[in-house]
Structures are given as structure tokens and as C-alpha cells.
Symmetry: C2
């Protein structure tokens, strides 16, 4: 039995490919298979078009429409494996309220941090130990909105390929290169003017110069920037908090910094 | 049997008060009881201190510490009902990863939209039909960080008392007055200079004047501002999106606008 065969419809949730796809909700299996899942016609269209990631396999609902037919054609032209799945199986696989008619299994891939830094034209965001995948996804979306060069995850980051993160990016994960680095490697490789965001010992964010290209370094919500990373920054900028909240949400803080920094350069 | 009695420990998850507390995860029962739940020592401390909401009842874990003892004392001084609950019951009730040692049942209450608008000193945020409770919570947190006058939920809003929203506010729900309004009432009551955020037909957000007090009106992520509300604004401001993302997350867009507008006035 060849479950990958194109012409037949997978009817069973016990099919090995379906079991593999379902297992990707779990970080352990995402790492074991080196894959993550993304859903929906627009999302998969973005994944095919961008070429940032290799698509291992596409699962199409058997009741696919004309639009998904066009997508299937372009996928097959790129030699991407396409499999047809019974609607009842697809509904079980989908993690969205309205079951999507395409699910893609996509290969994990990180870009090279050194390359992103050395070829940067506008801005590179470095995030130290981001913990919340929803926040990380929202940051990837904002980074894409501002068309920056890439995001570097420093230290112990949450999984950018977790479903909550991929969903929160609203397809932007397929537009913005992601890399990983240690604190030491980042400091060694980064030659860009660097602005860190800190609550203490920093200038107001409107008083810091941001001529691109530059690196914007954000610490974790709980702890802020580590001492080593903060020390490596050329400037430290502070977002004022006159009210009672103790801190800002990380994705909001990053968005405020990015728009303050780049909007004057991006008419 | 009086389940509200102070001296005894509630041992059963079938106790009517515990069943009521557990039911508040569900919007239907939140509305039926007119209550929502909030967890944790710091959060309940903020709820008692702020006085924005009436606290119906506090549930304390039987293994409470010295700090929770002080909180219980200040609650009882304010005639708030305090109940002791067995740890195993508390663990079932808690919606957080680490079960909290205090859960408060808090009475729904909206502030008066007209009063917020007429007494505003800095900024009132009006949100038209926000859909995601996590985003709404994050906006409440940012509003609190900037110490603005209040938030008005216009039209068909998600529930600000949903657990995802309350959690995302990080206690700020107890610092910022929330009101509800229809589009027509908001337009009638609002005499503040008003800036709406729109993608079309608008000036760049840096070119709009924001002298406080003013109202900042944000549309939904999916549809933007409704025509009627957009027409009522004195200015329409646009956040540029030079990249591929189709839009910004609502809480990020609101944060960027609020910092751009208020930071110059809030040293």
C-alpha cells in the first residue's frame, strides 16, 4: 500500500501520513520529523511562492474547489507531493474552527544568522528568549509588515513552528527569514549599530537615532535583556510607562519600537 | 448547610459555590451570574485596591501563606466574603498552569461611556467590534501603561471578562474603566477631537496631530472602521505597511498609535 499515491483518497485517520500530520501539534514530534504544519489555501499559496521552506507534502480535501485545483497544479509543477484526503479525516486534522481544505507539512529550516546580519539593509530584530509562541508570531507579522531583513532568536526561544505561532503570523512566517543564535555568537557576528530595549538606564525611545540598517534587540517580558546582551548594544531605548501596568506585551513593545524606528525611513 | 461560611473548608468540587466558580469559564454562565473570575495574589490585590469592580467572593486555598493572610484581612475589612477551599478543589478550578492560591469571583460592571468621554484628560480608545479576547486584553494592558482615561467597546465586542482577556491584561483590567456603546451613541456623546485608524484615504500616522485629550478609534482587523464611524472622525491616520503582511495585529496597531500619539505628551 502506498499511502502517498496521488490518485487514491486517504480514508483512514490511522494512515501513517495522517498520523504523522496529526502528531505535529506536539513539539516532540515536530522535532522528531523536522516538520511543521500550516493550513489554508492562502497560507499554502504563500508557502509555495516564498520558497523560504521546503514543502514535504500537501494534503488536499477530497472536496477541493477550482482554486485548490490551481494550487495543486502549481505544487505538482514544483514536484511537491500532493495527497487527497477524505473530508472527515481532514476535519479531524485541522486545528482551525472552520476546517481548512489544504494542510501542508513543511520542513523546519532556519536561515543563517551571520548572513542576515551581514546583508541587512533595513533592520534585523533579535529576540532574547521569547517565551510565548503567539507573541512571537505577532512579531513575525509586524516584521513582515515593515519588510525588515530577518529575525534572530537568541538563547532559549519558544518554538516558532508551534501552531499558535504559525497561525499568529498570518502567513508572514513564509516572508521573513528566521535564524537562531547564542548570545555570544550574536555579539560576535553583529556589526550593525544596535539598539536594545530596556526599562532601566536607557534614553526615551524617541531620543535614539535609528538610521538603517540597524539591529533592534528585545529582551524577554519577564527579565528584559540579559546583562551581556545589554552591554553589547550601542544604545538602550526605553518605552515610557507612566501608568500602573508593569510592562508592555512583547509584541506591542516590538511593534512600537519598529514603527518609531523605521516609519521615518519608509514612506 | 451554608457553603459561604468562613470557618469551614470546602472539600467537594460539587459544592454549589465551586460549581458556580467553575462555570464562569463559559460565557453563558458569566452572563447568567453577572460574574467573572480572576486568579492570583497580585491580581486579587489589584482588584481589591482599584475598586473598579465589586468583588462577590474570594476563594482561598487552604494552604494559604502569610501574604494571602494579609490579603484576606484587607478583604474582610472591606466586607468581602472569604471562603477557604481544599487545595485539590482549587487545582481543578484554576485555569493557570501553576494553580493559584486565590480566585476571585468579580461582578461584571461597565463604566458610563458618556462620563469617560466628557471627563477625558488624555485619551479614550474606542474599539469597534474587537473579536479576539487576547488582543482586547493586550490593548487594555497598553492603555493602562499609558494611563489613558478609558476604553469604549463599540458594537459587537468579544467578552472583556473572558479568561483569555482578563489574563492578557496582566491586572490592567482593574486599572482602566471599560464602557460599551453603540456607534450612534458614541458619535452623539463624543465631543473630543477624534482620530480614526484606516488603511484607505488617510494621512500617515506621523502627520496627524494628537494634542490631548482626544479619542482614538480603531476598527476591527478584518473590516477596519465602519463607514459611519470613519466619517465621524476628524482625522484618519494610516500605519504604513511597506511589506507583504496584509495588516497588523490589532493590539500592535493600537500600541503603535497610542505611543506615537501620547509619548510626546508623557515624558
Amino acid at each position: 500500500m502506498n499511502s502517498y499515491k496521488n490518485t487514491s483518497v486517504i480514508e483512514s485517520a490511522q494512515n501513517p501520513l495522517i498520523k504523522k500530520a496529526a502528531s505535529l501539534r506536539d513539539k516532540k514530534y515536530r522535532q522528531q520529523h523536522g516538520l511543521f504544519a500550516a493550513e489554508g489555501q492562502r497560507t499554502i499559496g504563500a508557502a509555495i511562492e516564498s520558497g523560504l521552506y521546503e514543502i514535504d507534502c500537501l494534503l488536499f480535501d477530497e472536496s477541493a474547489s477550482r482554486e485548490t485545483g490551481a494550487l495543486k497544479k502549481s505544487a505538482m509543477a514544483k514536484k511537491i507531493k500532493c495527497v487527497t484526503v477524505a473530508s472527515k479525516v481532514m476535519q479531524k486534522l485541522s486545528q482551525q474552527d472552520n476546517a481548512q481544505n489544504i494542510i501542508g507539512l513543511i520542513r523546519h529550516k532556519y536561515a543563517d544568522a551571520g548572513k542576515i546580519l551581514s546583508s541587512a539593509k533595513t533592520c534585523v530584530i533579535a529576540l532574547e528568549s521569547p517565551r510565548d509562541p503567539g507573541n512571537l508570531g505577532t512579531i513575525i507579522r509586524t516584521a513582515d509588515a515593515m519588510a525588515i531583513d530577518g529575525i534572530i532568536l537568541i538563547g532559549d526561544s519558544c518554538d516558532p513552528f508551534a501552531p499558535e505561532c504559525v497561525r499568529a503570523t498570518m502567513d508572514s512566517i513564509f516572508h521573513i527569514p528566521l535564524a537562531r543564535s547564542t548570545v555570544a555568537d550574536f555579539i560576535k557576528q553583529n556589526k550593525l549599530p544596535t539598539i536594545g530595549t530596556a526599562l532601566q538606564g536607557a534614553n526615551d525611545f524617541r531620543e535614539v537615532s535609528y538610521k538603517p540598517p540597524f539591529a533592534l534587540v528585545m529582551g524577554s517580558e519577564q527579565k528584559g535583556l540579559s546583562g551581556e546582551l545589554a552591554k553589547s548594544c550601542d544604545h538602550l531605548a526605553k518605552l515610557p510607562i507612566p501608568g500602573k501596568a508593569e510592562s508592555l506585551n512583547l509584541s506591542v513593545a516590538t511593534g512600537v519600537m519598529l514603527y518609531a524606528a523605521l516609519a521615518p525611513w519608509r514612506k
